[in-house]
């Protein structure tokens, strides 16, 4: 037999290179994982043999992920940079995948045409397209592709027992192992076990004469005959799996993944969470779904039986949380660590030969003849066209999915951030990106500066992170309470991790940053806002690391690439032998198992027919339900929900379309009204839940109560609004609400203000800052501080005043001590304090001692999000004394005194009042601090309350705040002995600066209230200015 170049394979390769090669440049950088691999590659390019990386999580080891792909990118980066390396490796991955599928298909079907078809189909296989273009899982792709290449060699070893096949098998397997750890382990089960089964079947067939004659007895006999080879291969691969990435296993043993699992879409119930169903089921399966009966029928034939079983299990595991079966099979632990989409990927790859076979039979084989006889050639062509059309459409749709539903923020130009970090020793502190998506890895790859965050969650080390299902702090708002909870701890106690700079690409986080004591530094050219926290100490010069023995470092650095070189050498030799020498006509053993395709079996055909019909009906039904659920104006409650939804997504045009057209409100007027509304609720909130309650209803009008839950970084807002809806021509509309007609008194007014500027370094030098350029820390005096017990919670409340002449930025760190002076807990003041104080301004404060939430693994985190959720720390003993370390630094920004309290009434446990803004800044988020005093006018509690609406200049906003927390409070300790200001005793400051404090000039005006637990309250206001003018 003269061998010819397989034109189908060439076509597949050309198509693959064209299609994927052209599109990865637009997709790969916005995938979930690609940039993470790039970051790892950057690590290897900098320090090939040193596994410790300081950039993320206060340091972690890269031995947590097999290194081959990263090291290859690193190696290529020396030629053309990191991204060149990444794209090159991706293209190599595409070639390996297509050829791998070809060889695998040839192995299974022994038909070059079928294998060629399979290779072409592999190019557009939607699961492969998704893995590459949406998920960016390069190691996984390389791993599975090389495994596919290894399968024919393994088959040949098992059949022939020739040593050279064992060598090639092991060489390729080693490459798989060093590129991805999960692939060979599960590949053993799902690819190699069925392959062994097929080998035995083939051997049995040869013994018995035909497949039909194969009995279990013959099969068993063959098993024992091949047992030695199987065992040799099995043991060898076990040694390889352990040996090639030994440091990985050592690391896994030393640092077991003891983290709260991070939710992953592939574990969802696809019927409930339809978006996960789309991404992890519909897209990867694509057209294959329609062919299930044929695929199963073929795979459950005698020869492929074991592949059939493997395929069935993979398919089942890929359904995630839809049924409880995958959970039962994998067990709780594996289920929560593995991402189950890979099973679907493998299932769709394992079936490709059969899919290729179908395509061949449909377009060129017996099915074509059968159909043309049955339907006529036109119908056959139309149906073929349809199948190909849908198949290509799904592939194209998948590639461009990132464009339609961006999973990542817009591409950020990192250069200004990198430059900022390089300037003026900014990289001596840690930074934190917010709202960067997976691009944070790209930033990390470009800078020496370190972050507390990271993007490889298996390596998370800080308890604040591992105790919660937080993938990254950076996108914590998507992780609800746990995310924001984790973030808040870092923001409140930044000195613990030397965290000084935050790059915010999402203004959602801005309020929590401001109220935790951070301030804006500058906006970079790329629009990223830099936030800074004053008074954080720089990182020490020497940072701790987990060292590993030298032999592990050498293994890790040398083995992976050696496996590639070895595999290449071996295979080149084989190719040399096969192609060039041509001394022996070589033909692989498996090629003798070619099957003849005679005529499709009727019942399979009809089952397929019905199956396609059923699928069509299901799709139609799904579409119809979708339509019903999402039709806005079908009922009164639907229109209210749709209206809020539109407001949430800032789709005001859509929101206006729900407004009663008879109300006379013009679109311009509506848009104008929307544009002047600002504040926590309209600019920083995300709608979490909405339900409606009918108050009154008849055929044409209804009064509904819309109960909404909004998530903001500061608190959850539960609002209730009464909305009138009206039915006009079978569509429901919302009656617009009256707007505030109040007009401010002055058209133009002026205001004088003292503003401040700090030069920082006055000389342009990279040397140490000159002594005279260092500002004096403002002097703050703590006037009172008390340790308060309420139920089992301990808090410290008090009053402090900036008694200096310059504005102060105040941070308080409190420590609780037990009777024997052992430290019980330490925490900083979060948002219950005014951090930025004018000269002589005072503020009441409360410090809560927050524990690390759900650090107990059994405790289930709540499913709903509540940023105010507070995990109080569990103390071993009752605290007796406390220590306050107040650090004050000069504040020059975020000082605003324009908010006035215009009036207030206390009734039925609420304080109602009006805020008036007399200044020229828009007070975006007003904060009202309410202090509670006992009958002796001792401060016992302080609460922080945020007002949902902003207060524009010369306008007023009313507020209604519940007077809360009626638990009795006992004062445990009021001593100021252990209070220190900038390291100096508070007592000395009192004696020196204000020795004769006028006690008759009170700090606060107290308002008497009737309550059994407190007798007076006082109010203080603070505000976050979203857009300073």
């Amino acid at each position: 037999m003269e061998k010819k170049t397989n034109k189908y394979l060439i076509t597949a390769l050309l198509l693959g290179l064209l299609f994927h090669g052209a599109s990865i440049f637009f997709t790969l950088e916005t995938t979930y994982d690609a940039l993470i691999h790039l970051f790892f590659a950057e690590h290897y390019s900098q320090s090939w043999f040193e596994p410790w990386n300081y950039s993320w999580y206060t340091g972690f080891t890269v031995m947590g992920y097999p290194p081959l792909v990263h090291q290859s990118i690193a190696l290529l980066s020396y030629i053309g940079g990191l991204k060149f390396g990444m794209f090159t490796v991706a293209i190599i991955g595409v070639i390996l995948f297509i050829t791998g599928v070809y060889r695998f298909a040839l192995l299974l079907t022994a038909n070059r045409k079928v294998a060629g078809y399979a290779a072409i189909l592999a190019v557009f296989s939607s699961s492969f397209v998704e893995t590459l273009h949406i998920f960016g899982q390069l190691p996984s792709i390389i791993g599975i592709s090389v495994l596919l290449h290894a399968l024919p060699e393994i088959y040949l070893w098992l059949r022939t027992g020739k040593g050279r096949y064992l060598t090639t098998s092991f060489a390729l397997l080693a490459v798989t192992i060093t590129s991805h750890h999960v692939t060979p382990i599960f590949g053993m089960v799902f690819f190699i076990f069925p392959l062994i089964g097929m080998v035995l079947m083939d051997a049995s067939k040869e013994n018995a004469g035909s497949m039909k004659a194969v009995t279990f007895k013959i099969f068993l006999a063959n098993f024992f005959k091949h047992f030695k080879r199987i065992i040799t291969f099995g043991l060898g691969s076990l040694v390889l799996i352990i040996g090639c990435i030994l440091p990985y296993w050592v690391n896994t043993k030393n640092n077991p993944i003891t983290q709260v699992p991070i939710p992953h879409g592939s574990r969802d119930n696809f019927l409930e969470v339809t978006s996960s169903g789309l991404v992890f089921f519909l897209i990867p399966w694509g057209i294959l779904l329609l062919l299930f009966p044929y695929l199963f029928y073929r795979f459950f034939s005698k020869r492929y039986l074991f592949f059939g079983i493997s395929f069935a299990i993979l398919t089942l595991l890929g359904t995630g949380g839809t049924t409880s079966i995958p959970l039962t099979i994998l067990g709780e632990n594996a289920f929560n660590i593995l991402t189950l989409d890979r099973f679907t990927l493998w299932a769709s790859i394992i079936i490709l030969p059969i899919f290729g076979e179908f395509a061949y039979r449909f377009s060129d084989g017996d099915i074509k003849i059968y159909l043309q006889e049955k339907w006529g050639p036109v119908m056959h062509r139309i149906s073929g066209g349809l199948l190909v059309g849908v198949f290509i459409f799904i592939a194209l749709f998948t590639v461009s999915l990132g464009k339609f539903r961006p999973a990542q923020p817009q591409e950020i130009n990192m250069l200004p951030i990198v430059n900022f970090l390089n300037q003026d020793d900014h990289d001596k502190w840690r930074y934190l990106p917010l709202g960067f998506g997976d691009q944070m890895a790209w930033l990390s790859a470009q800078t020496n500066a370190m972050t507390v965050d990271g993007n490889y969650h298996s390596a998370r080390r800080l308890p604040e992170l591992t105790s919660k299902a937080v993938e990254r702090l950076e996108n914590s708002k998507f992780r609800g309470v746990e995310g924001i909870g984790s973030l808040q701890q870092f923001l409140t106690v930044p000195d613990k991790y030397h965290l000084k700079y935050i790059f915010s690409n999402d203004k959602f986080y801005d309020p929590i940053l401001y109220f935790s004591g951070w301030h804006r530094l500058q906006q970079l050219e790329n629009g990223i806002m830099v936030w800074e926290r004053a008074g954080v100490t720089p990182l020490p010069n020497v940072l701790p690391k987990d060292n590993v023995p030298l032999f592990q470092k050498l293994l890790w650095g040398i083995v992976p690439l050696s496996t590639v070189i070895f595999a290449l050498l071996i295979n080149l030799r084989a190719i040399w032998r096969r192609k060039l020498k041509r001394t022996t006509k070589h033909s692989a053993t498996y090629l003798s198992f070619e099957q003849e395709y005679k005529k499709p079996i009727k019942w399979v055909f009809y089952t397929s027919y019905f199956w396609v019909l059923i699928m069509m009906v299901l799709f139609a039904f799904g579409g119809y339900t979708f339509y019903l659920k999402n039709t806005a104006q079908l009922t009164g409650s639907n229109v209210v929900k749709a209206y809020y939804d539109a407001l949430d997504f800032k789709n005001f045009e859509k929101a206006y379309s729900f407004i009663n057209p008879e109300s006379g409100k013009s679109k311009t007027q509506y848009m104008l009204e929307v544009s002047v509304s600002d504040g926590l609720l309209s600019s920083y909130a995300k709608l979490d839940a909405i339900s409606t309650e009918v108050i009154q209803e008849n055929d044409s009008v209804a009064k509904l109560k819309a109960i909404t839950k909004w998530i903001t970084p500061l608190k959850v807002f539960n609002t209730e609004e009464i909305i009138e809806v009206k039915k006009i021509d079978s569509k429901w509309f919302i009656t617009p609400q009256n707007i505030d007609l109040d007009i401010p008194p002055d058209q133009l007014f002026s205001e004088n203000n003292t503003t401040f500027y700090n030069h920082g370094r006055r000389r342009v030098t990279s040397g140490k800052t000159y002594h005279e350029d260092v500002l004096k820390q403002p002097v703050v005096e703590v006037l009172s501080a008390k340790l308060i017990k309420s139920n089992d919670e301990y808090t410290i409340v008090g009053t402090l005043q900036n008694i200096d002449f310059i504005p102060a930025d105040v941070a308080i760190k409190a420590t609780l001590y037990a009777k024997d002076n052992s430290v019980l807990a330490t925490y900083n003041a979060k948002d219950i304090i005014k951090h930025k104080l004018f000269a002589k301004e005072s503020s009441n404060f409360r410090i809560d001692f927050e524990g690390i939430a759900w650090s107990n693994f059994d405790a289930n985190p709540p499913e709903v999000f509540d940023p105010e959720e507070f995990t109080s720390i569990i103390l071993d003993e009752e605290p007796v004394t406390f220590n306050l370390q107040v650090s004050a630094n000069v504040a020059t920004t975020d000082l605003y005194d324009g908010l006035a309290i215009q009036n207030n009434v206390i009734s039925e446990g609420f304080i109602e009042g009006t805020l008036f803004n007399s200044g020229i800044q828009n007070a975006t988020i007003p904060q009202v601090l309410i202090s509670y005093y006992d009958e002796n006018k001792n401060l016992i509690n302080v609460t922080s309350n945020y007002i949902a609406e902003s207060v524009r200049p010369q306008r007023k906003v009313t507020f209604k705040i519940p007077l809360g927390n009626n638990n009795p409070r006992t004062i445990l300790n009021t001593s100021l002995k252990n209070v220190f200001i900038n390291g100096l005793p508070n007592e000395d400051i009192t004696n020196k600066i204000v020795p004769d404090r006028a006690l008759n000039k009170p700090m606060q005006t107290l308002i008497p209230v009737e309550n059994e637990n407190y007798s007076y309250i006082s109010i203080q206001v603070n505000s976050y200015i979203g857009n300073p003018k």
């Binding site: 007609l741 109040d742 005279e772 000269a839 215009q902 007023k956 006028a998």
Partner: protein, 415 residues
């Protein structure tokens, strides 16, 4: 007690071993010293930093001794250093390297030949007198409070050109400029530094200072003197008219805030204004000072009242209380009903000149004591409520309407 003895068993052998080694070493040292004598010809016991220091030695019995084994062991402030003899064949000279000879301090030496300590001694290197400079001068804190109680400290550390601290009693001069007067203070170095406390004057401003040495000077040093704590002050108010229309700005200002020495308080000092109206409701506003005066603003009340306002700098100073009365802008308002009484129009709401009141006055409607319809704001002097028949069937209702402090209550049949 038993435990303590256990430790002795551990320590005792160690102790014995130590003594043993020491003795052996001493014996070894003295072993060959018979007949070998030598000494350093020391000409000076005091050098200046930067001098070339050469120590010469003589050894008797040079024939039998290999001179390469002669060395000088120096104990300096940098640690112990071994010096071998200079390459000159004839004489046995030891030249101290420059990095040692430029550093002030005491140096102890041992002259050792072939393991025998033949001579020992010490000398002092004093700071160079050639050129002196002022290496570091600090003043801190950089700002102080006027009044003479608060002080800052100027510390100067003069050195020679080799960065050696100068010896005590070296004269240093500190010059101070306060306003137009210049003062000179002669100081002497004490414990290697010179320092002076600079007490604040009564006037706020800036003090300039410098430290001078015989032939060098420090940088210019600045000390800011801020005003002391404020004294009590008076406040006044300004308003466009006395009517409680809820739509004008009441401006409150302080007199110029000064401290006990008549200095104007630093700009940016916060003054709080707290008011109480006739109903006991609290009003609060604040402002920062500019040139000693703080000007705060409040919105007019929308019902007749008297505001009692007082300003404070908490715990430090306050003002007198002022009372500001606001009178009502209207005594009565009219109501108009539609034919079926389903629309109630309030107005025209007229103000003190008979003009229509500015938009935004709050009008509230209560039906049967419940505020079923949200409060609305007036527009062009009118506010109109429509009572929907979908929610209020025909019946007689108890209706209350409130506007600008005036309330009307009546029963109305809606049909």
């Amino acid at each position: 007690m038993k435990k303590a003895f256990k430790h002795i068993w551990l320590i005792l052998p160690l102790f014995i071993i130590c003594i043993g080694f020491n003795t052996i070493q001493n014996n070894l040292m003295q072993q060959d010293s018979d007949g070998l004598t030598g000494k350093i010809i020391e000409d000076r016991s005091r050098y200046n930093a930067g001098d070339t220091i050469i120590l010469s030695a003589t050894i008797e019995d040079t024939n039998t001794t290999n001179l390469t084994e002669a060395f000088l062991q120096l104990s300096t402030s940098y640690g112990i250093i071994t010096l071998f003899k200079d390459s000159n064949k004839e004489a046995i000279n030891f030249t101290l390297p420059h990095f040692i000879s430029k550093k002030s301090g005491w140096i102890q030496w041992d002259f050792i030949v072939a393991g025998n300590k033949l001579d020992s001694g010490s000398f002092e290197i004093r700071p160079s007198t050639a050129i002196n400079k002022i290496a570091e001068t600090y003043v801190g804190p950089p700002s102080i409070i006027a009044g003479g109680k608060d002080f800052t400290m100027l510390v100067t550390i003069p050195t020679d050109i080799y960065d050696n601290l100068l010896i005590d009693e070296t004269p240093v001069t500190i010059n101070e400029q306060r306003g137009t007067s210049t003062e000179t203070f002669p100081l002497k170095i004490n414990k290697r530094i010179a320092w002076k406390r600079i007490f604040s004057p009564e006037k706020k401003g800036r003090i300039f200072a410098t430290a001078l040495l015989e032939n060098s000077a420090s940088r210019e040093l600045n000390i800011d003197v801020f005003a002391n704590q404020p004294k009590d002050f008076v406040i006044s108010y300004e308003r466009p008219h006395p009517f409680a229309d809820g739509n004008q700005i009441l401006t409150l200002s302080t007199s110029i805030l000064r401290d006990a020495y008549n200095n104007i308080i630093t700009d940016g000092t916060l003054v709080q204004f707290t008011g109480v109206d006739s109903n006991g409701q609290i009003l609060r506003t604040s402002a920062t000072t500019i040139n000693g005066t703080a000007t705060a603003k409040l919105l007019y009340p929308d019902a007749p009242t008297t505001l009692k306002i007082k300003a404070t700098i908490p715990g430090l100073a306050d003002s007198q209380e002022i009372a500001i009365a606001f009178t009502s802008i209207l005594k009565e308002f009219e109501l108009q009903f539609s034919e079926n009484n389903r629309t109630i129009t309030v107005g025209p709401l007229k103000s003190y000149l008979g003009q229509l009141i500015p938009d935004g006055a709050v009008v509230e409607l209560f039906i049967n004591g419940k505020q079923e319809i949200n409060q609305i704001s007036s527009k062009d002097g009118f506010a109109s409520f429509s009572i929907s028949e979908d929610f209020y069937p025909d019946a007689t209702y108890d209706v209350t309407i409130t506007a600008l402090g005036i309330t009307k209550n009546f029963k109305k049949t809606i049909h």
